[in-house]
């Protein structure tokens, strides 16, 4: 690579279209994974809150799943579901559980008993209490979990590049740049995926400010049980 500039801006200029396509694919893969992951995690957390004895078991399984290397999981699934979007999404979804479930549970745990009693005293039905009192108060920690999940998932999408050209989002450029010993591509893929993760993180911070303006000052740092 001697004599080559680190970034060939002419290459970047000539590939703006494909780069934006990859950025879009990256976002697409991440949004699907976090959405499905969030829906399943919410269900798991609801079970864990009602059946408290199951919570350690849920955490243990989620931790064990998170422990399995992403590379190994992607490679394993190829044999079963081929080079398909299922193979790309299943690991991404599985890895969100350990980030989302503990934060959702902690969010609902953080609602003070006094507040629940007051809501009951005011004649709220169970549904109203959940929707108007418990959920809004749980939002800061739920969003903290979503921030962690979004950042982690955006990072992991790059690994799906090992599934070939059709996947990987910006990870495609990291792998291709490496194989071609072409730093420009690696830098484009790596820096844009980092930028996307940071942007998603800031996006969730803004979302939380909109959802819970009263809690703007205290941004929950999130629970990391891993």
């Amino acid at each position: 690579m001697s004599g080559e500039p680190l970034v060939r801006w002419d290459w970047v200029g000539a590939h703006i279209g494909p780069i934006l396509d990859r950025l879009g694919q990256h976002l697409y893969l991440a949004v699907i994974a976090v959405s499905i992951g969030f829906a399943i995690s919410f269900g798991l957390a609801a079970v864990a809150i009602r059946r408290r004895r199951l919570y350690p078991l849920v955490t243990l399984i989620a931790t064990a799943v998170y422990t399995i290397p992403s590379y190994a999981l992607f490679a394993t699934l190829v044999v079963f579901s081929g080079l398909s979007i299922v193979t790309a999404e299943v690991p991404l979804v599985l890895y969100t559980f350990i980030l989302l479930v503990p934060n959702i549970v902690a969010g609902f745990d953080s609602v003070p008993q006094d507040v629940l009693d007051a809501a009951d005293g005011m004649g709220y039905t169970a549904g109203q209490r959940w929707w108007r009192v418990e959920l809004p108060l749980a939002v800061p920690l739920v969003v903290a979990g979503l921030r962690l999940a979004a950042v982690s998932t955006i990072g992991l999408v790059t690994v799906s590049a090992i599934l070939g050209d059709r996947f990987g989002g910006l990870g495609y450029y990291i792998l291709e740049g490496y194989h071609r010993t072409f730093p420009t591509e690696i830098l484009v893929g790596g820096l844009l995926s980092i930028a996307l993760a940071v942007a998603a993180d800031l996006g969730f911070v803004l979302l939380q400010r909109l959802l819970t303006p009263w809690a703007a000052a205290r941004l929950a740092p999130g629970v990391a049980v891993r």
Partner: protein, 231 residues
Amino acid sequence: MQIVAATIQWLADPAHWQGSNGIPLRLGEHVALSGLSLLLAALVAMPLGLWIGHTGRFSWLVVSSANAWRALPSFAVIGLLVPFTTLLDPNLGFILYPTLIAMIVLAGPPLLVNSYQGVAGVDRDLVEAARGMGMSERQILFDLEMPIALPVLATGLRSAAVQVIATATLGATFGFGGLGHYIVLGDANQDNGELFGGVVLVAALALGTLAMFVLLERRLASPGLAPRTAG
């Protein structure tokens, strides 16, 4: 079921347990790289986290930077480092440094955050009482705060170790050996036995490390703190 048979056959073949591509050597590479990066990360992050937790200075930095730090995906970090480290050293800069540095970066946040939270979470009344009894700041940190923070510190170490061992697998895509090497080769050669042999080995190592730390944490926890589980 063919896959299971092929995997068992591959793992049972004595030829795969010796030589320069043998399982003991690849396992050794994987463990050595993980251990070294964990050690280097711990040497920087843990004293820093303990100090910030004890003094309360720069605590905003830990809370705000830890999340941003996690935005650095290892796959991208390893790839990004290759062009730079190969300029420093064409050989080690290609096979070792990118993965090693990326793993130090990965291990940093859980070590820093848990060291900080462990010490910062110690009841301030206890610290005041210790000060009143004439304990020095050093004694407060080492004899009071650290023993109480031990479970949280251990959780940080476990989290970092497990993540590093799992993620070091990616190094195989970028010139580093380790157990991920079998997955790369198995994938390239369409050899399911080798591919799943690698998957089984690397998953076993990661889960084994997790189990080892969980057992260790149980033994380490002070009996006086037993009913309160930290994490």
